[in-house]
Amino acid sequence: MNMLIYLIPIALLMGGIGLVAFLWSLKSGQYEDLEGAAWRVLADDEQEETRR
């Protein structure tokens, strides 16, 4: 029973971390272009370096 005092918050915290990670990925636009992302994995050269 005393175990639960620790375990339940830990379980909720871990679930919460997962939820926060999902929210972050949504906010940073990772679901904007799923098809493009699938192809970019296969691109040979790094085209990510844009000249700023």
């Binding site: 379980a11 909720l12 904007e32 192809w39 970019r40 050269d45 000249r51």
Partner: protein, 757 residues
Amino acid sequence: MTCCMINAEAVLAMKPRAFSSEEIALASHSLGEGLRQLDLSVPDVHCGGCIGTIEKALSALTFVSKARVNLTSRRVTCVYQETSHSAPTDPALILETIEQAGYRAHLCAPVAERDRTRNQLLLAVGVAGFAAANIMLLSVSVWSGADAATRDMFHWISAMIAAPALVYAGRFFFRSAWNALKNRRTNMDVPISLAVTLSYAVSLWETMHHGEHAWFDATVSLLFFLLIGRTLDHVMREKARAAINGLARIAPRGALVLQNDGSRRYVAVEDIVVDDEIAVAAGERIPVDAVVVSGESDLDLSIVTGESSPVAARQGTYASSGAMNLTGSLVVRATKMAKDSLLSEIISLMEAAEGGRARYRRIADRAASLYSPVVHLLALASFLGWGFIGGDWKQAMLVAVAVLIITCPCALGLAVPVVQVVAAGELFRRGIMVKDGSALERLAEVDAVAFDKTGTLTMGTPRLVSLDASDEADIAVAAGLAAHSRHPLSQALFRGVIASPSAFDHVTEVPGGGLEASDGATCYRMGSFSFACGSAPSHDHGTLSEVVLARDGRVVARFFFEDSVRPGAADSILRLHDMGIKTLMVSGDREGVVATTARRLGIDVALAALTPKQKVDACDRLRDEGRKVLMVGDGINDAPALASAHVSIAPATASDIGRQAADLVFFNERLDAVPHAIEVARRSASLIRQNFALAIGYNLLAVPIAVAGFATPLIAAVAMSTSSLIVVSNALRLNTFVKLHPAKGEADRLMPEATSA
């Protein structure tokens, strides 16, 4: 899979229409710090190679600081500096670069940065999923037999997780249910909201009084399942909407207005006032209703009235907005402002034509209006029954909640959207975009189809059908002349003949007549018979258009054209007849041409020379006969009929307003899209009916258990999930049906075609 064919037509010397730098600047928006962002639609990208090609080509431009291709929405976002080397940059270079890489690019309405609703829905799904999973874990421990103190603590924790999740994730349902009740209607969201709030309230009450059963898990899982359905539905429609928005805008954004001092200024269409003089170059569209002041040309009215052959324009000719100026530059004087032009007449006609959409009630709402009173009365009856007969009001309340949960608005709430999402996804893969789910329901009821002719049954572009020439060299000459003109017949000639065109240094185009060029001593003329030979034609060729090439006034070659029928049109009409659907043709074109086309395609009834109003009347007459009409059309003149018909389809090449008015838009060239869409719609209608039958059958089994008071939270949770799973798997059977009945012309690779003509 073939990849990245360079589109030869896009790189033709005669581009259908280049955008002026002013127009591009108007379409881009400033990001501050001297940077501007330009969103372009590139309909041809479809693989990783395309992404690399375009991004590399654009990054090579010195003033472009960022270029990114979005493959899902087929757009390029390009951030560029306003000035490079202290001179203003020319954004037209960006379009040119993309076109040189072999892709068509055109301006499109800037998209909202992200789809806000979709993100809100996804967030809600995430939150509901998190809550459902955690509460379910706690519930499992309770069901496995936790003792009283632990059970109470677990219930409290569940209650605390569920409360914020309900408020946050349930707001979509509560809002929609409240709106329905405010208007004295009921929809699917009313029983859902009621079940959720009541079950939560009762569970909380039970928890406070150390009760044995709580339904927190059922409450949150219900929301989680329904939100998934809702999100899929939204994403599907958004995808279709984005694809339609990515099409080229046909109406011009602005025009060159002549100033008093003789200079020209680029003015947005909304700011053009009556009596402004506007310069319209060849290949541009007339921006507002106007009268020609000077210049001679031919006007293509196919998208305005459905007239398939161009009309000559000279001083005093009335030019309606949307007409394409083909052969010469014109100066026109605006007679109306943009908001009063032909388009706005059409829009008011559209508003007057009460659409099938407005009268239609969604099948889910009709089901809900039967379902919710029955379920709610049942819950009330069992509450009163248990209360008066058993005398235990707390037990009565528990039973009533169990009834509400176990009747599961979940299965009913998923029955329709899941089928429609699967169907819309299937159609999307075939290049048919569905704007909303109710269109599929309406499409399934169709028993008559009204087709527009120009641009719908036909491609709206002429095709060379036969030629009569004695000498190969003359054909080469004709092709060489044709390369210099925008006139649809010249373009068709250039595409249609297999000869390397002869080169001419100087070709003059005589608007309303044809082309003229001299090659040393000989003078070539190509165009109508009277222009080429200077005499009246000897005989008439009925419905074929004729172009004559004359050398020094003597005919050396003749070419015959007709408006090419859309591929698969005849097959599609046959398929429609096999499905027991009546077909008719409503066209604004001339009687002779319409009758010929109808005969060739085997269409039952053909009506010619119709005004937009008469097209609406034709649809209304059919409706009064008790038929459900599907209207297929593309022009500005079809828009009112598209809006008033029971359901409507437009090709992607349609006018802007036609695309807006239609419920579905198809992107491939073949007309097979029409019968195929109807087949899929009918199939999904029968699946929806099956789903309702399954959900109701399940209720007949489950409700007695609940009313008898045997439904523990465990049984409720299991029953609820099973019913949802059954409904979803039944919806997925649509795919197997489609695999068994592949559409004809499957070999045609789907390439969303967006015209910029």
